[in-house]
């Protein structure tokens, strides 16, 4: 028997427009809303709409026995509100079936914990409020941006009251153990960990359309035998991937939709196998022991670390600049400035700046709206430089206003004293 736990990440970054250094100090508009709208609408028709419809169909057909989990970033929900409000209904319908769990994460798909724990916690809270308002759901299981995880992050998430988190099944930390079991935090024993089976996930997410792959084309039957083989080492198989895998990364012509449909139907046909949501897995299964991650791990690249976002000088500088701004951005209390600063914390901006593997041309470039990592950095820093100026100006104004009100307050006090 296999418990299959599919989880889909839904995110769209707020892409920056081509912001030239010559514009610094002249324009406070940073986003490429034309591109953002266009891309959202394109992926909505390629992936979001057809795939949510397929999942809904599968849930209905199987009487709710097909189950899965989702996480939607605040950026994505906001973009739907701005460009395609009815798209949220497709997800809402899924959540209303009771077979789909919605997970918690940071509002801005950010790696804020790398420079500010306070900001990271605020973004988790903001996300929680947003999904409550939008879907009326309060998530109980957490997933961090890009599945970044470490023991200390687990402790923090546990303290927020979540039952568990998703993370990567990293070979060097598993030390020969199978990712196909429920694990727990080494100290926080009630805090459970669901580990991604990256082999079985990447067969779908990366290799499905790779014609040089010896297993191409992959059929649902063949994949089912792999699942069953893999389940010999444990009963929980976690397939965590970008939702855009279906129809966007792997196009419809590749047969990805049919593959998924057949897979679900076949797996459930004999009554041997089950689909579970992360919450159900945590309730239903017994943890086989602690999984400890002293270092930061993620689901990215072959290193499964955070080097895709924070490795070269440009990325370090970009983080440092955001960090330096945090205090004043929050002090001046200007909602627009705070909102735009938070958008800049999205991990995507840092990913675009990665020079790792850039020489060979790779997956980083697939996702990037920029020609080179250097252009990504230049554009980002141009925007941050402009923001720095605005923050400085706003701080001065606020200081002046504070001094003014202090003076007035004093005068008032003096008057009342008289």
């Amino acid at each position: 028997m296999v418990n299959l736990c599919p989880y889909f990440q839904v995110h769209q970054p707020d892409r920056l427009r081509d912001y030239k250094i010559l514009e610094v100090g002249r324009s406070p508009f940073y986003l490429d809303e034309v591109a953002n709208a266009k891309i959202l609408q394109r992926i909505a028709s390629l992936c979001y709409r057809p795939m949510t419809a397929l999942l809904k169909k599968l849930i209905d057909q199987t009487g709710g026995r097909f189950k899965c989990a989702f996480s939607l970033t605040g950026n994505f929900i906001e973009q739907c509100e701005r460009f395609d409000p009815t798209l949220l209904d497709s997800f809402r319908e899924l959540f209303q079936t009771g077979s789909v769990e919605l997970l918690a994460e940071t509002y801005h798909h950010s790696l804020a914990f790398l420079f500010s724990k306070g900001e990271w916690l605020e973004q988790i809270e903001l996300h929680k409020i947003k999904v409550q308002q939008t879907f009326g759901i309060t998530p109980t299981v957490f997933r961090n941006t890009e599945l970044v995880y470490a023991d200390w992050l687990g402790t923090e998430i546990n303290a927020l009251g979540y039952k568990g988190t998703l993370c990567e099944g990293v070979d060097r930390l598993l030390e020969g153990r199978s990712p196909n079991n429920l694990y727990q935090h080494p100290q926080e024993q009630n805090f459970k960990l669901l580990l991604r089976n990256y082999n079985l996930t990447d067969d779908i997410a990366f290799r499905f359309t790779d014609q040089s792959w010896t297993e191409w084309p992959l059929s649902a039957q063949k994949y089912q035998t792999w699942i069953e083989k893999s389940a010999e080492s444990g009963s929980l198989i976690n397939l965590f991937m970008d939702f855009e895998t279906f129809g966007e990364h792997q196009k419809e012509e590749s047969g990805i939709f049919t593959f998924f449909e057949e897979l679900v139907q076949n797996l459930l046909a004999e009554g041997k196998h089950h689909f579970v949501t992360p919450s159900e897995a945590i309730e239903k299964l017994v943890s086989v022991g602690p999984y400890s991650s002293p270092e930061l791990t993620s689901w990215a690249d072959t290193e499964r670390d955070i080097s895709a976002w924070k490795m070269n000088r440009m990325q370090e500088d970009a983080f440092a600049r955001l960090q330096k701004l945090e205090l004043s951005v929050k002090e001046i209390g200007h909602p627009d400035i705070l909102a735009v600063w938070r958008k800049l914390t999205s991990s995507d901006h840092f990913y675009y700046m990665s020079t790792k593997y850039y020489t060979d041309g790779d997956v980083h470039q697939y996702f990037s709206p920029y020609e080179t990592p250097y252009d990504a950095y230049i554009n980002f820093v141009n925007v941050v430089t402009d923001l720095e100026r605005r923050v400085e100006e706003a701080s001065e104004l606020k200081d002046r206003a504070d001094r003014q009100s202090l003076r007035e307050g004093k005068m008032l006090g003096e008057q009342s004293a008289i």
Binding site: K20, T359, P373, I378
Partner: protein
């Protein structure tokens, strides 16, 4: 091999490219007879001989035996340029061209010292015709397997040599008239270029960019064109162990703290120096302390000087004129950013040189070199605003220039002349099987 430029008679990339190709061909065991429009000196290196058509002409006049090679001018190459044993069987190539004394260390029995460095005189078409006429007797005298000629000046010679010998002809295109004078070039030159490519058994283009031009403007079928990118020979002095801790010596001005941006190339429309100057103007409005260096000579020099005055930036733009090879290296070492602003650049060897000095480089997309580089900043040649922005970014954002410097050598290390020669060798073997 038929060539026109060869160091020291070089006015640009063509001579450097010929030199790089010949040296690597010799290393891989080929024998090269290089025919140039003017002799350089006498010496001899195994596998390599240089024939100046001017001397050849004298011989003809004296009715001496054509095959009397004792009277031909030849070169000694460095001892370390002994032919390497080659996996494939070496071929003899006939090349016609001109040669670099200092680079080749020709030292023995110099017959006549060069009197001027002009490669392209006012009587260029006459020279080209004369060169082609003499090619017939040279081709009838020498033994070789194939003919390899470089650019339009030598194409007629190559065609004649092919007719006389019946050997296969390779036309190597380093630049086209469409690069040199977009839309208003010489019809005669275009005709020679097209004719050469049509008659040739195979055409070699220095980039896909140039291949597209040949296909589009001359109707040469793409299957006939092979792309062989130029290369660069890394010099030990150019690759400091830690590029970021290099202290730049300053040959130019004492105010070293001012960031400097370099343009190096012919001051002609093709190289886009005017766009560079307009971008400089925009940059200076934001960062007046930046300095711009324009190195090279050409027909737009006076215009540029005037424009620079007009824009009130004459004290911030330095025109350095034509520089010696040594001075060029010095300039590379003393600047912070290199710009290739070409309107149409078949390849762009200077970019590789700049990268070998670990300089951040900004290049126009209308260039062949753009195809082989990743760690550079690109813009469309007409987009002055973007060029200005990129210059400002490079000099303002240290993490950016540090990353670019770090990856510069990574980018050029696979781009060598040996790599180019190995591709050319493959083409030689293919044409010889026809």
């Amino acid at each position: 091999m038929f060539g026109w430029e060869f160091p020291p008679y070089s006015s640009g990339g063509l001579g450097m490219a010929c030199f790089g190709i010949v040296r690597s061909l010799l290393r891989s065991g080929h024998q090269v007879s290089l025919v140039l429009p003017r002799s350089i000196g006498k010496s001899s290196t195994p596998g390599f001989s240089v024939i100046g058509t001017d001397v050849w002409e004298n011989h003809l006049a004296k009715e001496e035996q054509l095959a009397n090679s004792a009277n031909l001018q030849t070169f000694y190459l460095d001892a370390d340029l002994q032919p390497y044993s080659s996996v494939t069987s070496p071929l003899t190539v006939s090349v016609l061209g001109q040669t670099t004394l200092n680079a080749l260390h020709a030292e023995q029995d110099q017959l006549e010292a060069p009197t001027s460095n002009t490669v392209y005189g006012p009587d260029l078409f006459y020279q080209v015709e004369k060169y082609a006429r003499l090619a017939a007797s040279i081709a009838a005298t020498l033994e070789f397997d194939l003919i390899h000629c470089h650019d339009w000046m030598t194409f007629s010679a190559g065609i004649v040599a092919k007719q006389v010998s019946g050997k296969p002809l390779l036309c190597h295109v380093h630049a086209t008239e469409f690069d040199r004078a977009p839309g208003h070039g010489s019809e005669h030159v275009s005709r020679l270029e097209r004719n050469g490519c049509e008659v040739a058994d195979r055409v070699i283009a220095v980039s896909n960019y140039t291949k597209e031009i040949l296909a589009k403007h001359y109707g040469i079928i793409k299957d006939k064109i092979d792309v062989v990118h130029n290369g660069i020979e890394m010099q030990a002095g150019n690759s400091p162990a830690n590029p970021l801790e290099v202290t730049h010596e300053d040959p130019l001005t004492p105010e070293r703290q001012n960031p400097r941006v370099l343009f190096l190339g012919r001051i002609t429309y093709q190289k886009g120096p005017n766009y560079f100057l307009e971008a400089a103007h925009k940059v200076l409005q934001i960062r007046p302390e930046i300095r711009f260096i324009i190195a090279g000579a050409g027909d737009m020099l006076e215009y540029l000087r005037g424009r620079s005055h007009e824009l009130g930036m004459a004290n911030r733009v330095k025109f350095m004129g034509l520089l010696s090879e040594e001075k060029v290296q010095e300039v590379y070492r003393s600047v912070d950013c290199f710009v290739l602003s070409s309107v149409s650049e078949p390849f762009g060897l200077t970019v590789l040189e700049a990268l070998s000095h670990r300089l951040p480089v900004i290049i126009s997309k209308q260039s062949g070199v753009s195809e082989v580089l990743k760690h550079v900043l690109r813009y469309d040649y007409w987009d002055v605003e973007r060029l200005a922005s990129l210059i400002l970014s490079v000099v303002s954002y240290k993490p950016l220039s540090d990353e670019l410097k770090e990856h510069a050598v990574e980018d050029i290390s696979p781009i060598t002349w040996d790599q180019a020669a190995s591709k050319i060798t493959d083409i030689y073997h293919r044409v010889c099987q026809y």
